[in-house]
């Protein structure tokens, strides 16, 4: 009895002095949880996929012009998207990238072969994004589109120089205050969210922040790729807080057999 009590004391002392296990999960950040399609606003809808400040400013200018009050929103959205392409994206593309830009949507591997997106497109994917802390050293980003999962390492490791390039690359991250900063390299050559090709020199720094009212998650992605970009592209994306949503199976993709070449969306 005495021995048992003594053991208990020793055990209690030992436990109170032991450092927390390395995998202990810290307090959730403000970003954790389920996010989904952006608010049903003009700018939110424009940023359903990747958008830029140039495009947002153009859209707001169109909306503020009384001459456009009778025009349907999809027309204004298309005009702002064209402005964004012509005045922001296209001038940043290198000669090499311009040779195939814009890619014919009929060649989309997702359409023809149900091939999941690479990071350059996946990071702007519509629908759900679930952010979860796995342990002290890892955060997972789970997307509804393609059920893609990215792991972000927070343990201070360096980007691996020798790791083979992969579809979603290798991500390391850190918190700057409440902002999650994720740097990704080792991404295999692929297609961007604006239908240009990129090389395996692609690298991106993503900054995820939650709005002051807590209702939206904002991404600012600074993208570099010396093969395809003359200078960095800064693209944005918005999600809405959606705690009741869940990611559902993405298991019924059927490759398209009859496609028309030479089409493009507004």
């Amino acid at each position: 009895m005495r021995l048992a009590a003594g053991s208990l004391v020793v055990l209690t002392v030992a436990c109170s002095q032991a450092p927390p296990p390395p995998s202990a999960t810290p307090e959730p950040s403000k970003l954790e949880g389920m996010w989904s399609d952006p608010p049903a606003t003009a700018v939110g809808t424009f940023c359903f996929f990747a958008c830029t400040d140039a495009g947002i400013e153009k859209l707001n200018a169109l909306l503020d012009d009384p001459a456009n009050d009778k025009r349907p929103f999809p027309q204004l959205q298309a005009e702002a998207a064209k402005y964004q392409t012509d005045n922001y994206l296209r001038p940043r593309l290198t000669e090499a990238a311009l040779k195939t830009y814009p890619l014919d949507p009929a060649d989309d591997p997702g359409l023809l072969r149900c091939e999941p997106w690479g990071l350059a497109k996946q990071m702007f994917a519509p629908h759900q994004l679930e952010i979860r802390r796995v342990d002290a050293n890892r955060i997972e980003l789970r997307y509804g589109e393609w059920e893609a999962v990215r792991t972000v390492y927070l343990d201070g490791r360096a980007a691996p120089a020798e790791q083979p390039a992969s579809r979603l690359g290798h991500s390391i991250g850190r918190f700057e205050g409440d902002t999650l900063v994720v740097e990704t390299t080792r991404v295999a050559a692929g297609i961007t969210g604006w239908d240009s090709q990129h090389s395996d020199q692609f690298r991106v720094v993503e900054r995820f922040t939650r709005s002051d009212d807590g209702n939206t998650l904002n991404l600012t992605a600074t993208i570099e790729d010396p093969w395809s970009l003359r200078e960095p592209v800064v693209a944005k994306k918005i999600w809405r807080w959606a705690p009741d949503q869940k990611i559902t199976p993405y298991d019924a993709c059927e490759p398209a057999t009859d496609v028309k070449r030479g089409t493009s969306e507004p």
Binding site: P74, P126, Y250, C253, T257, V259, E265
Partner: protein
Amino acid sequence: MRLLRVFLLVLPLLVLAAVTTSAHHAFSPVYDGKRTITVDGVVTQFRFVNPHAMMLMEVKDKTGKVVTWNVEFAGRLNLEEAGWNAQTIKPGERVKVTGNPAWQSDQRMAFVKLVRADGTELEPGRAQRLSAIEEERRQRAQQRTQPPK
């Protein structure tokens, strides 16, 4: 026996799909976003799946022969946002469906609107989104005309 009712309508830029299309692939290589078509028939299957929900329906063609139409929707991820579930459309239901016809294959369309036998309509979430945006635009226009404080 009701005859197939197919209406080919050219609508000015009714490219709603471009607003919030389920984006696993581009819309334009498969469907003609500038035209709509309407068919009337009976649902045989509704699959509430990702990346695109699908519906099969039996429709009578001009000769009275029953043919199968394939209707492609946005994905379950999109439709749930609009309050849909796997039981929203049931086999055996008579429905009138409007959609963008496929470029290359007959009897296939991308969903725009469904009208049930009792006249109630089903629209995808993007229709609700567009209504909210139009309200936002009305408010912006109102603020523009108000004198500065």
